[in-house]
Symmetry: C3
Subunit: 159 residues, 3 copies
């Protein structure tokens, strides 16, 4: 049992790991941006969910009317949740994939498609672009993650 | 201060890490499956949330009636969120646990219970099975994660 | 191209990695606590979302009245989702940061502020404290994560 994983200590010092670090940081920063966009829409649309957030608008009914949902806020929140659902698998599977000894060229291809797909997905969701823009960008990120999972299981399967 | 963690470079080349890689990939793939099940129910139940997703059903009121919530869609979404809430801790704590030098037998026991618990949880949620099926499968995964966290803190505590 | 990342095999055996393991485990356990608090409020407020969860209250209308939302339950759930949105970036970026060769003092500062900010955020959300308590504690964790991301990209950028 001395597969690719055995060479991990060498592999981790290499460009594939640097590439993983770079693209993971980029997609996580992109995901974090969704919090700021949500806050921006909550403030400009005056649509809050916590009573303590509307206290500066006065008391009683005057503040209460800002406790409401807004379509733009909800749209950003859905995009944020979709990021979580897709970037969490990338975070875990991508790390294991980077440690499974892929070719640099192949690894970069996977990471770049994933990052490009998630950035496109955000634009498709927020503008919004007509379908199937959002669907296809989601599917591209999903397919790339499945491909990396396949490589991990082929290299490291230990049940 | 030369505890178990100090031997990390050797440990990472071993079967515990391979086992972590395998079970993490399995539970992340299972979580990703929830996206496909959500899409399946949205399409078969014709229950969408984004106006651009109903454009193919025509314009105006004709398309608008498909912008609705459906109990089956919401159920899958709750299962998906529960996965996120429980698999994210496993992803992080499990990795640190795998690097903390556990016995292979003990580690496999933890990983297998966690993966089995989450798969059972999904069936219990989606069928749905009567309680306490869902509650117990959730608790099994939760308990195993706490047990791994205890081992990590015992090995690596550095405040 | 032999930057800080190249020394990874040594770095991983060190106190920065131990500190990362400790603080990550703490914030993930804190996040897991949100599940228990949600369950506590669901049971004490008798506010459930799945019909199978109210079966023990009897059948028909008698059980159905407990299928409702409760402001306290929803508040904890929002805090839980906010944890996911912020702790997932910390999990990934923090790991890469720990591997990027920071000074121990600087790394501890980052990890401690993050953990303190997330714990404060939970108290601010659940009590709730008047704003800007929740906003500031959220911003502190966010800023620290950005700072770590900057260090990772400065060390490992490989596009």
């Amino acid at each position: 049992r001395s597969g690719e994983m055995a060479k991990l200590t060498q592999l981790i010092d290499n460009e594939v790991f640097w590439a993983y670090a770079t693209y993971t940081t980029i997609v996580l920063l992109k995901m974090m941006l969704m919090s700021l966009i949500t806050a921006y829409f909550r403030i400009t649309r005056k649509a809050f969910v916590n009573p303590e957030d509307t206290a500066s608008f006065g008391k009683g009914e005057n503040a209460k009317k800002y406790l409401r949902t807004d379509p733009d806020v909800e749209r950003v929140r859905r995009g944020h949740l979709n990021d979580l659902e897709n970037i969490v698998p990338f975070l875990g599977i991508g790390l294991l994939y980077a440690l499974s000894g892929p070719e640099l060229y192949t690894a970069l291809l996977h990471f770049r498609i994933f990052a490009g797909a998630r950035i496109t997905h955000t634009f498709a969701y927020l503008i919004p672009l007509p379908q199937p823009s959002r669907g296809l960008s989601w599917a591209a990120g999903y397919a790339v993650t499945i491909s990396m999972a396949y490589k991990v299981l082929k290299t490291a399967l230990y049940l």
